[in-house]
Every structure is written in C-alpha cells, then in structure tokens.
C-alpha cells in the first residue's frame, strides 16, 4: 500500500508495525478488502445488467452477436497469459532475481498494452458500424428493437470502459514497480508490493472473464 522506499535500514517494518510478518499480513489484507470493494463496484453494474438481460433476453442475445467474438476471445487468452507472467514476476522477486523480475514485469505490461490496443480497435470498429450510442452519435442498429439494443451497448461500453480504466491504473502501478525493481533498494518491501500488484492484476483479469462471458458469449 505504501509506495515510498524505506529510509531506515533494509528489511525494517514501517514504524506502526512490530515486525515484517505483521506488516505483510496487514498489507495483503488491505488489498483483499480493496478487491472486495472493487467486486461490489462491478457487482452493482453487473446486477443492473442482469435485470435488463432478463427483461429483454432476445434483444440482448441478438445485440451480442454484433460484438467481435474472435477478438474478444483472443484478448481473454492474452489477459490470462499476462497473469501467468505476473505470477512469475512474484516468484522471481521473492527468489531475489532482479533481472528476471524486470523481464516478467515488462512482458506483463506489454501484453496489457496489446490488450488495450485490441480493445481500442474493437471500439473503433463499433464506432464505424454506428453502434456507439454515446454523445449523441448516430446509432443505426440493423436488428429488431434498436432502443433495447442500445441499452445492451450502453452496458457494454460502461463495463469494458470501466475495465479499461482499471487496466490502465494497473499498468501505471506496474510501471512504478519496474522503477522500484530497477533500483532494487529494499527487496522485502518490493516483494510485498509486487505481490499486492499481482492480486490487483489477477482481479482485473477475473473481471474481464465475467465481462467476456456476459457480453460476448451470451449471444443468440
């Protein structure tokens, strides 16, 4: 949770803690609770989606066919792979391997950037197809019930957009981790920080799996 390197001797806990074990447990617990709040954040929106999915099942299933399933699947695979590298980075930092940690972090970040690029391409594609009902843009949906379909796309943009925001934040904190790993000042603290980043990254991954399932896969 704390991001500034310790100024005291190496491997000392912050002043409010008795020892490093206590600090590690506290940091991890803090992150888990934060993830619970994130779960409730997405949970609220998924609940609203579920309400409408049950209210207009045919229209939503039909609207989902207008998303790019291939790119979505590919992106899912990408993100799962990035989580693997994130886990490897955690292992490497705990084993004291600075260069490997750096390499794995770079791969994780790289995959994350590619994911966002593909997502951006998808959005652009939907924009040119006039399926982006935002800021008064024309919405020319070819199927039945364009108004209900617009509701589907509203959720699609809210969920994928919010997910992209979370990914971007994750990429920023991972870049900070790259800097810290580069400096390699307090490996025990760094180990904690990378573990916490790993939790966050895995969470973002899991949320994507839910988005992929509810938006892309539940189709007619």
């Amino acid at each position: 949770m704390t991001t500034t390197p310790s100024t005291t001797s190496k491997a000392a806990p912050d002043e409010q803690f008795d020892d490093l074990t206590q600090q590690r447990q506290a940091d991890l617990m803090g992150m888990w609770i934060f993830l619970a709040t994130e779960l409730m954040l997405f949970g609220g929106i998924f609940t609203a989606f579920t309400v409408y999915r049950f209210a207009y099942p045919e229209v939503f299933a039909e609207a989902a066919t207008h998303l790019d399933l291939k790119l979505g699947t590919f992106n899912t695979a990408l993100l799962v792979t990035s989580s693997l590298f994130m886990a490897l980075a955690e292992r490497a930092v705990n084993a004291g391997q600075r260069r490997k940690t750096l390499a794995f972090l770079f791969v994780t970040i790289g995959i994350g950037v590619v994911f966002l690029g593909i997502k951006g391409y998808e959005w652009h594609h939907e924009y040119t197809e006039k399926l982006m009902p935002i800021l008064g843009l024309a919405f020319e949906y070819p199927g039945a019930h364009p108004d209900r379909a617009e509701m589907f796309f509203n959720f699609y943009y809210v969920l994928t957009g919010l997910h992209a925001v979370h990914m971007s934040l994750g990429l920023v904190t991972l870049s900070v981790m790259v800097v810290f790993t580069w400096r390699w000042r307090d490996p025990s603290r760094l180990g904690r920080q990378i573990q916490i980043n790993g939790l966050y990254w895995a969470f973002v991954d899991v949320v994507w799996v839910f988005i992929f399932t509810t938006q892309y896969l539940l189709r007619a």
Partner: protein
C-alpha cells in the same frame, strides 16, 4: 535509546511540530483526526445554516423569505452536506481515527498514509461539491432520484455527483484502515471479546463502508455517464427503469444509515458504563447485536420504496427484515438501561448526552417501526413524520453521541478539561431544543404535512412555529460547545491521564498521548469495563 531521544518519545503528539506542513503532511492518526474534526465542523455549521434558513421560511405558511427555487436548493444543500459530509465521516473519522489505535494498543493505524490521503479526498471532494451546489444550484435533494436528476435538473448535478463519488473513496480508505488495524494490530491479550464496544462499532461501520460504498460509486458513475455521455442505463426511452436507480441507491444508503448510527452506539456504550461505574450489561449480546444490525442492514433497502411501485411481495419481505433490525437495536437499548440499573450514576455533562441518546434513539427507532409497516407507511410516506423519524436517529442519536464522545475524550485529545457547568447547559439545550424542533414534526407529518414544501395550510402554523423556535434553542446547544471547548484549549484545567477513572487502554497513556501512543507495549489481561476492580483499587 539516548536520553534526549527518550525525552522526545515521551513528549505529547502536540508538543512539537506547529508549522502548517507539520499538520498538512502528518501521518499521525491523532493529528489526522483533528484535521477531520476541523473539516466536519465547518461542514456541519454550513449545513446547519441552511437548516436555519429553512426553519425561518417555515415560520409563516406563505413563501416569503426565499424563492421557491432557493428553497429547493436549501434543503438539497442541507441534506447533501449533513449526510455526505458530516454524518458519514463524523464519529469514525474524528473519534474513531483518534481512538481506534489507542484502544487496540497500536502505534498507529495500519496505513497512515492512506489515512491522510483520505482526509484530502474528503475535503477536496466536499469543497468541490459545495462550490458546485452553491454557485449553480442543485435541487435534486440528497438522493438524486432519476429521472429528475438525469433528464430535468440543472447542470451542476454532474459536479455534485462527482464530488459525492470522490468522497466515497475516503470512506473506503477509512474502512480498509480500520478493519485491518482491528484484525492485525491488537495488543497481546486483547481478544475479540475484550475489545471495547466502540471498536466493535467502528469495525462494523467499516464493513458497511467497504461493502456498500462501492455500489453507490457504481450508481453515481452510471448517473454521471447518463448525463454526460448519454449512456442511458435508467432512461425509460431505452427500456431503462428509474426504479432500478432507487434500488441501487438504497442498497448503499440504507446501510449508510448504520454507518451513521453504529459509531454513536459504540460511543454511548463507553459513556454509560463509565458513568454508571458498572460493566456493560450483556457485553457479548452488545457486540453480536452490532454485527446483526450490520448484516440485516443490507437486506432492508426496499423499505424506502413501498410506494415506488416495487412488487408487493418484495415490500412484504423488506418490511419483515426491517422489523428484524429492531431486535438487535432493542437488545442494545435494553442493555444500556440494564447497565444503568443499580449503577452509581454520575450526572455529568457526558452522561446527559448519553442518556439523551438512549431516549431519543428509542423514540426514533420506535417510529421507525411504524414506517416499516406497509400500510402505515402509505399514510405517512414523504411527510414530516419521516423527517422527524430520521432526525431522531441522526441528530438525536448520532449528533448527541458525537458531542458526548467529544466531551468524554476531549481531555485525552487535548490534555485540557472543559468547564463542566457550561457543558451541562449545552447538553440540556441540545435535548430541549431538539425535542422542541422535531417532536412537532411527528404531529404535523401524521396530520399530512408533506416534506420539501415551502408553503403549507395555516392549520400547521403553530407546529411549524414551535419547530422553528426549537431550532433556535438547538443552535445554542451547538454553538456553546464550540465556544467553551475552544476556550478550554488555552484556559482549561490540565487533564490527568484518566480524569474519569475509565477503563480502556486509551486511559493508560498520557493526556495528550505521546506520538506513538504508549511508551511501553501494552498487554491486556482481563475483560473490558472492569469497573469493580477500578473502583476497589
């Protein structure tokens, strides 16, 4: 440790560091508590000012003090400020921030930097919202109901929503901090069932903060997106349902009621046991009741929507669960009275606050049961009966507990005693003024006076005048402590470490405590509230 270093460690947290940056960049939970105290006091008086103008307007049946539009904005300001910027952070972020680490015997909260960051988020978000509300006017009420907020209301709604959204993060950070501190940083021997009830209450409050606030955040995001980008999740034209907004909103905002009242219950438990010189009656029941209220609190949000068109069967269930909340609440009330029974009562100012709380909370809770009944609610929904009910909980309960707690721990926080006689006057003014203000509102509400109206039939005038008079007395009850507490900072008597001979780790250290709270690590060997042992020493 050298002698100089030892001396410095035993100095109080206030003795050095009086440059501005020592306060603005502090991570000491005790100083952050003060920053919060200053902020919420400012917001409280701002919200109170709006209420005062409202009461002034309502002295006469005609609208003559302000325009109808201004009236709508005034009650919006009052609601937004009091709920979001005063009640929710009030006890947890001031007394809780100061006391939680002390009570568990820790040197600080688990994440001191997040703690100060939460204050910045809160203050910046709050000031931003106020600026937006005051400069361009928001008249949605504090609940931002759709479709009015999305399709009809003024532009500043987005700014107000953004501010409230931002402030939510400060709640979440505080919640995380309190939960982790309670779990991981308790002193040796301080088991869960030896924790002070104040800690239990703040722990439960934190659970609500971290689990409910994000749902509000999600809802506010959807509102903001609907207004700014046209992503109409609640837009009926797209098959959207404005009632869905109410569901999501109350899923947060009912549990938020417990964010506002649970800490007050925690405070009052501490005060009553100390000034009855008796251990809390049914300690385990008290702790478990707190958790029960927290859990049931998540299942009752639909009682705000009995007349909104939700299904009757849903209404039935929500009504049932609301009655269930009354059970643990009643257990608490009975246990407070049982604690008083055969106690050696000391009628200090603090005790007057605590007893006021129990009485007013009981009336507020009891009328809550009326409102939980489906048929009665149809009659009194959106009337002053509801206004009176929640003010009995929020002001009669929470504000009274906050002031009581502030007095009780004032010597610990500042190292000074306040003038007892003036404190008694203030506590009585609060009790009398409060009842005079809000009891007539039950009567007029039951007789059909609707909320949020600037004008009313002449029949209601006598009750409205009484209510406005009471507001004046109430204002004295608020202003007096502001004066004599500030006075005491300079001229008050020096406080010993434990002026009330109270139990609890926070009283084992100096008043005010040193920077790291205790000079030696604390251990706990017995149950909480062991007043028999203390008094027989």
């Amino acid at each position: 440790m050298s002698e100089a270093a030892a001396n410095q460690a035993s100095e109080s947290y206030l003795s050095r560091g009086w440059r501005l940056r020592d306060w603005l960049f502090t991570t000491d939970h005790k100083r952050v508590a003060w920053l919060y105290t200053v902020s919420i006091t400012a917001f409280f008086f701002l919200g109170g000012l709006a209420a005062l103008v409202i009461r002034l307007e309502l002295i006469t049946p005609e609208g003559d003090v302000v325009s109808a539009d201004a009236y709508n904005q005034l009650f919006t300001i009052h609601g937004v400020v009091m709920v979001w910027f005063f009640l929710i952070p009030s006890i947890p972020n001031t007394l809780g921030n100061f006391l939680l680490p002390l009570m568990v015997g820790a040197k600080d909260l688990a994440f001191p930097k997040l703690n100060i960051i939460s204050w910045y988020i809160y203050t910046i978000g709050g000031v931003f919202t106020i600026a937006a509300v005051i400069t361009s006017g928001v008249d949605t009420g504090w609940t931002f109901y759709t479709p009015y907020s999305t399709q009809y209301a003024d532009r500043a709604v987005v700014a107000a929503l953004t501010g409230v959204f931002v402030v939510g993060f400060s709640s979440i950070l505080t919640g995380i901090n309190f939960i982790v501190t309670t779990h991981k940083m308790r002193a040796p021997g301080l088991t869960w069932f030896r924790l002070p009830l104040f800690v239990w209450a703040n722990y439960a409050t934190s659970l609500v903060m971290v689990l409910a606030t994000p749902v509000l955040s999600a809802t506010l995001i959807l509102l903001i997106l609907e207004r700014m980008l046209g992503i109409g999740i609640f837009d009926p034209a797209l098959g959207g349902d404005p009632i869905l907004f109410q569901h999501l909103f109350w899923f947060y905002s009912h549990p938020a009621v417990y964010i506002m009242i649970l800490p007050g219950m925690g405070v009052v438990s501490e005060l009553i046991t100390c000034f009855s010189r008796k251990t809390v009656f049914g300690y385990h029941g008290m702790a478990i009741s707190i958790l029960a209220i927290t859990v049931f609190g998540f299942l009752v949000w639909g009682h705000h929507m009995f007349v909104s068109g939700q299904s009757l069967y849903a209404g039935l269930m929500f009504s049932f669960f609301t009655f269930l909340v009354a059970l643990p609440s009643a257990i608490k009330t009975f246990n407070w009275t049982a604690t008083l029974y055969k106690g050696k009562l000391i009628f200090s100012a603090v005790m007057i606050y605590a007893l006021s709380f129990v009485g007013l909370f009981t009336i507020g809770g009891f009328t809550g049961i009326f409102l939980a009944s489906l048929a009665v609610d149809v009659h009194v929904h959106d009337t002053y009966f509801v206004v009176a009910h929640f003010h009995y909980i929020m002001v009669g309960g929470m504000v009274t507990a906050y002031l009581g707690g502030l007095h009780f721990w004032w010597p610990k926080m500042t190292g000074r005693m306040y003038p007892e006689i003036w404190a008694k006057v203030a506590a009585l003014a609060l009790f009398i003024g409060f009842n005079l203000t809000f009891f007539p509102q039950y009567l007029m509400g039951y007789a059909g006076m609707p909320r949020r109206y600037q004008t009313y039939p002449e029949d209601f005038q006598i009750l409205h005048v009484m209510s406005s008079l009471g507001a004046g007395v109430l204002a004295i009850g608020y202003l007096l402590p502001l004066v004599y507490l500030l006075w005491s900072l300079r001229w008050g008597k020096r406080a010993p470490p434990n002026p009330w001979r109270a139990a609890g780790l926070e009283w084992r250290t100096d008043s005010p405590p040193p920077k790291h709270n205790f000079l030696e690590p604390q251990t706990v060997t017995g149950p909480p509230y062991d007043y028999d042992t203390i008094d027989n020493k």
